[in-house]
């Protein structure tokens, strides 16, 4: 099964997929922006400021999702010593970090008209900031050591340790009294958001997911080339 992750096979897929995903991303993004900025209704309480949700929420979801994948892969790296898992984790981290920053900045901008402040040290915001620190430490761990084995171990431990923060982010609004409202979109409970808002939220989430896949493919391609460039030196 691990043969599916063989770099030779993956490179063929990457080359074919990259352009297709870029075109699809642009199309879905344009549709999502039109839905979010023009077609979707304003909120009865928050008025038009609710539109910030269409960039803030997908960015937060995807940064959490990417970190969870990196953490699970890190278990695989430590247990199976699979080198391709290392490449995948390294390639996922930059887009996850950027989505995390987008969630923090747009959340801060949304906070001003809604709560009257740019920043508050509430549980959700603080745990999201902590996630950005984990992302940063993960990416820096590849630059600190010359010895690759040390970098692999350190980055894996950071990702696994950071996994503890993921359920804290998710349930912080339920466990503590925070400025954030409880989640409106639920898998197991009733979704309390109206379909006219759920639709643009879904489209924007799809656009963001496509963008993260695109960046992942480009970074993965770059990481493979770095290895093969070293291989050419050894020929």
């Amino acid at each position: 099964m691990l043969n599916y992750f063989n770099p030779s096979n993956t490179l063929k897929v990457i080359n074919k997929l990259q352009k297709f995903i870029f075109a699809l991303f642009i199309a879905v993004l344009i549709l999502g922006l039109f839905e979010a900025l023009v077609l979707s209704p304003e909120d009865y309480k928050q008025s038009d400021s609710v539109r910030i949700m269409y960039v803030h929420v997908p960015a937060a979801w995807i940064s959490l999702g990417i970190f969870s994948v990196i953490s699970i892969l890190s278990f695989g790296i430590l247990i199976f010593k699979n080198k391709n898992f290392i490449l995948i984790s390294k390639s996922l981290a930059p887009s996850g970090f950027v989505f995390n920053i987008i969630a923090l900045v747009t959340g801060s901008i949304w906070g001003k008209p809604t709560w009257g402040t740019w920043w508050a040290w509430d549980a959700r915001i603080t745990s999201m900031l902590l996630l950005a620190v984990f992302y940063l430490m993960f990416m820096l761990s590849w630059k600190i050591f010359e010895d690759e084995k040390k970098s692999i171990k350190l980055s894996s431990y950071i990702a696994i340790f950071g996994l503890i923060n993921v359920p804290i982010i998710k349930f912080s609004v339920d466990w503590w009294s925070t400025l954030h409202q409880p989640s409106s979109v639920n898998v197991f409970k009733e979704t309390t958001i109206h379909s006219t808002m759920l639709m643009p939220l879904g489209i924007m989430t799809a656009a963001f997911a496509l963008f993260s896949i695109l960046i992942f493919l480009m970074k993965y391609h770059t990481e493979l080339l770095k290895i093969k460039n070293k291989g050419l030196d050894r020929l």
């Binding site: 770099p7 038009d48 960039v55 901008i109 695109l214």
Partner: protein, 77 residues
């Protein structure tokens, strides 16, 4: 209509700055990643060109190098 969209009931500054920041972040990440990828591709091409014939033949036989070369401008395969 356009001024309504721009004004957003007085929240235009917040809404537009959020969307602008997001799109700017996307653009920056895309171009930085693209530059890094192109740099590695150019590096690969120049190294491959400088290989002697024997080594180039060995490399061409490996599937991974064939895959990379097929995506470069100097592909001879």
């Amino acid at each position: 209509m356009i001024s309504e969209i721009l004004n957003m009931n007085g929240y235009g500054l917040y809404v537009w700055s959020s969307f602008m920041f997001t799109l700017l972040s996307f653009g920056t990440l895309y171009f930085v990643t693209k530059i890094q990828l192109n740099k590695e591709l150019r590096n690969f091409e120049s190294k491959f060109k400088n290989l002697d014939i024997e080594k180039a033949e060995i490399a061409k036989k490996q599937e991974i190098y064939r895959g990379i070369l097929s995506s470069t401008s100097t592909s001879k395969i």
